[in-house]
Symmetry: C2
Subunit: 235 residues, 2 copies
């Protein structure tokens, strides 16, 4: 029995209205996955490390990337930026000197593998390089779409609250690493980073976690070290 309203349903997940959607999306996902698998083979063959950064709008993905790119210095890198509209983020990345391509999804809520294929055709990243993919600001839908990346990295701001891994578990389950941003703001929002990390590890015990404050440089050495290490094993 549902404890909230006392009806006879075990939960209020509405399987019926979603059933048709799920069938349709299976087709789309299968098509996406075919492209993604081919992309993954190609990227691995060329020793290109692709990281798919997923997080809510304002999680701090672009700021994290700006500081990561500067810290990585002369390493060969490229960025694909996803947003519904504007090329603001591509302009910010471009200012670091890193090659970047903006993908605008219009009403679309995520990047798909076809967009990455198109991006690679334009960016032409060299062998043994890094490809950062900044997904559309959305903690929900991008978790479902394989982009051929080596790893998904969930980027979450401490200002979002410590309960988010429990409430939006899919992306935390799909990710290899969590970058917990803006940890310097924790006292102002009365959120405990340790509790947030505990919730994330409850969903995914294998998650590697990096608490950072990108603008202040806090925790960045560990995160950048992880990226460097991942690139070495990819090349």
């Amino acid at each position: 029995m549902c404890r909230t309203c006392g009806c006879d349903e075990a939960t209020h997940t509405h399987a019926h209205p979603h059933a048709r959607r799920i069938t349709l999306e299976t087709d789309l996902l299968a098509k996406n996955d075919r492209i993604a698998h081919a992309l993954r083979d190609r990227l691995e063959h060329d020793g290109i490390l692709a990281l798919n950064l997923i997080g809510a709008p304002g999680a701090g993905k672009t700021t994290l990337l700006e500081h990561t790119i500067r810290a990585l210095g002369t390493l060969p890198m490229a960025v694909i930026e996803g947003d519904q509209a504007t090329d603001n983020d591509a302009q910010r990345i471009s200012a670091t000197g890193c090659p970047v391509m903006q993908v605008n999804t219009g009403p679309g809520c995520h990047l798909d593998a076809g967009m990455i294929e198109h991006g690679l055709a334009h960016l032409k990243p060299r062998a043994r390089s890094l490809l950062f993919i900044e997904n559309v600001g959305n903690l929900v839908c991008p978790a479902l779409f394989d982009l051929g990346e080596r790893a998904k990295v969930v980027v979450m701001s401490i200002t979002e609250g410590d309960d988010k891994p429990l409430k939006y578990p899919h992306v935390f389950r799909a990710a290899s690493a969590l970058v917990l941003t803006k940890v310097d703001l924790a006292p102002h929002v009365e959120v405990d980073p340790a509790r947030c990390i505990e919730h994330a590890r409850r969903i995914n015990p294998n998650l590697t976690v990096f608490p950072v404050a990108s603008k202040k440089g806090l925790g960045m050495a560990e995160w950048v070290g992880w990226v460097r290490g991942a690139l070495e094993t990819a090349s």
Copy 2:
């Protein structure tokens, strides 16, 4: 020509891979809209004011609701809470004494009109009452789904950055009001609320804007007054 990468496409919106998705979603949206239109007729007939709160995870929707419900005091109210998982938010609302129903969408990224219909069957709100719908934490997809509400209210935290209305314009265009939360944190994140509001109004000049800090009570009287006024015109 694309100014980012120099290719011949005007923009990097990928119409082709999305075309099939859009066709499929048109069917789903048409079905959703039929249910939503019937719901709207019914809610208007009963003088029930339904507000659909949309915002990213951690925008502060539940905190805003807790304080709004307490400020509204004895007004008849009910809440439908949307999340991928957990009934954390329903428990928080329940603690205020307000009737609430939690809808878990699993991998789903938004509430749809069928879920609201089901929620109403359980909550049985009385005539001339308020119905708050807290959508799944997602600034993107819920903008597309009519829930039969009187108005969409976009809830955005100042910590998300002033550029979000420009980068995620659809929800700002669809909304009647913007509640800009956590404005007390603006100095800590170096974001200017006035600039954020200017961006939101550039997308939607008719947006009524409420800068608030819910926990501190800042700006809450104006927002709560707007809700009261809307209920009076609905009844």
